[in-house]
């Protein structure tokens, strides 16, 4: 039996407020393309929140967000989430990977092979028995990705995964993300970096102050932005309040 497709991601009238302040305001769109979708926008635009709702970590106040008609639960195995600042268990690198496998009831006999593959994929083979918490920032983020990738998810959600890294770390992670996308994992990733969006995006969701301003293919977004706000953002100007 062919597993059910997870796309499209349908977002309808999605609103979310905290203490009377709207953080997401009536967002409507459909994501159906494969490849890398970048959620772009300045700090406070609501990018992380949108990703969190897409993973089921937060529930919207109004409206809905559904993956092919399914409301997301954090424990769905076909979708993983990568935090900007990961927390690892006080165990070694491979034990951190194994923990995820056991959470999702992967057959014990497959653990070793899956772990080896994930370590190779992220260049962590030599660090397999190092304590996860003693890794450098770049290594930690690679492990963070390995931990999300080991389940072979159909979708990976990444929240500013390179915000804390130096340029070479950023390059490594971007390479990884591109490879994973090429292997038919849908990537939805937030960033506030225009350059990173240009390097990675196949399509762009541009958010500002909780509103979805544009949702267009990347080449269109960067060449011919439809709105003044997007134009200003691409030009590197400070954005005014709407």
């Amino acid at each position: 039996m062919q597993p059910a497709p997870v796309l499209p991601l349908e977002i309808q009238h999605l609103s979310f407020a905290r203490q009377g302040k709207p953080l997401l305001d009536n967002v409507n769109t459909i994501i159906e393309s494969v490849g890398i979708t970048i959620i772009l926008g300045p700090n406070g635009a609501g990018k992380s929140l949108l990703l969190r709702i897409a993973h089921g970590l937060d529930l919207p106040d109004h409206g809905s967000l559904k993956w092919n008609k399914h409301i997301p639960q954090p424990r769905d195995s076909w979708r993983t989430f990568v935090f900007q600042k990961p927390v690892f268990l006080q165990r070694n690198v491979q034990a951190n990977l194994e923990y995820v496998l056991s959470l999702h009831k992967t057959a014990k006999t497959e653990h070793d092979a899956l772990i080896r593959e994930a370590l190779q994929h992220t260049g962590l083979v030599e660090l397999a028995v190092r304590s996860a918490r003693t890794l450098s920032g770049g290594e930690q983020q690679r492990l963070n990705i390995a931990r999300a990738w080991i389940l072979k998810p159909k979708v990976m959600l990444l929240d500013e995964p390179t915000a804390e890294l130096d340029p070479s770390g950023v390059a490594t992670i971007e390479m990884l993300i591109k490879t994973i996308a090429q292997q038919n994992t849908k990537i939805i990733m937030s960033t506030h970096s225009l350059d990173q969006a240009k390097r990675l995006a196949h399509e762009v969701l541009f958010l500002h102050q909780g509103k979805l301003i544009e949702h267009t293919p990347a080449n269109v977004f960067f060449a011919q932005p439809k709105t003044r706000l997007a134009e200003d953002f691409i030009a590197g100007k400070l954005l005014n309040r709407i």
């Binding site: 954090p74 006080q90 165990r91 003693t134």
Partner: protein, 234 residues
């Protein structure tokens, strides 16, 4: 005042001679307190973790009680356990009064609240740090407790041995429920109290020194095991 040097010599002498009476009470002290720590941990680690992680009716009350019971006076615990285990009490038929088991029960009552309250705080802190991440990885709240208990194992060892310290040093409760019977329920602390009341301050002080040494040995053995394990795992 050369009481201290006299007592020190006496202590050294008792140890070097492998004094039979001394070995007997040291063994019983360790057996009683270690068993109490073991049982109290079995109860208190899950209890403390559950109080930190799960919301239920009356949780606030349980937490307040635990924090109060952390400072329970041993004599009161001894008295309550005595009344329960006394032949005229509800569990009198078991005939447990004046046995090591009665002493273990009293010590469990004394230290379980301490271990539970400390565990609750440890798990609360760990949960603040890890909850979001574990949830995002797909952990159910039912598996969270086991993971966090294992995650905080090094801190929990310290909590458990805070309990051990209290158990092994306690005299009021074990005196009442154990009866300080020679060759049967006499432990280090009750022996010290007895020698003091006999006016043999020197022997009492020597036993006191041995007790402190014993605590030190047990604690440092556990702490170095903890340290070695910590090095391997993190």
């Amino acid at each position: 005042m050369n009481d201290f040097s006299q007592a020190f010599l006496k202590a050294a002498q008792l140890i070097l001679q492998f004094d039979e009476g001394l070995i007997e009470i040291v063994t019983l002290s360790l057996q009683v307190s270690m068993t109490a720590v073991f049982i109290a941990s079995m109860i208190s680690l899950p209890l403390g973790a559950a109080l930190a992680l799960y919301k239920f009716h009356g949780r606030g009350l349980v937490v307040a009680l635990l924090n109060t019971f952390m400072g329970l006076p041993p004599v009161v615990v001894g008295l309550v356990v005595y009344l329960i285990l006394s032949r005229s009490g509800p569990l009198g038929a078991l005939g447990l009064l004046f046995t090591p088991t009665a002493m273990i029960i009293a010590q469990v009552c004394l230290i379980a609240p301490i271990i539970a309250a400390l565990t609750r705080q440890t798990i609360l802190d760990a949960n603040d740090e890890c909850h979001e991440q574990l949830r995002a990885l797909g952990a159910r709240s039912s598996s969270m407790m086991g993971t966090l208990l294992w995650e905080t194992r090094y801190s929990l060892v310290t909590n458990v041995f805070a309990g051990f310290g209290r158990a092994i040093a306690e005299v009021g409760a074990v005196l009442i429920v154990g009866g300080n019977i020679n060759h049967s329920t006499r432990v280090m602390t009750t022996a010290i109290a007895l020698e003091t009341s006999k006016g043999d301050i020197e022997l009492a002080l020597a036993l006191g020194m041995i007790l402190i040494m014993l605590s030190l040995i047990v604690t440092s053995a556990v702490m170095s095991a903890r340290h070695a394990a910590y090095k391997i795992y993190s």
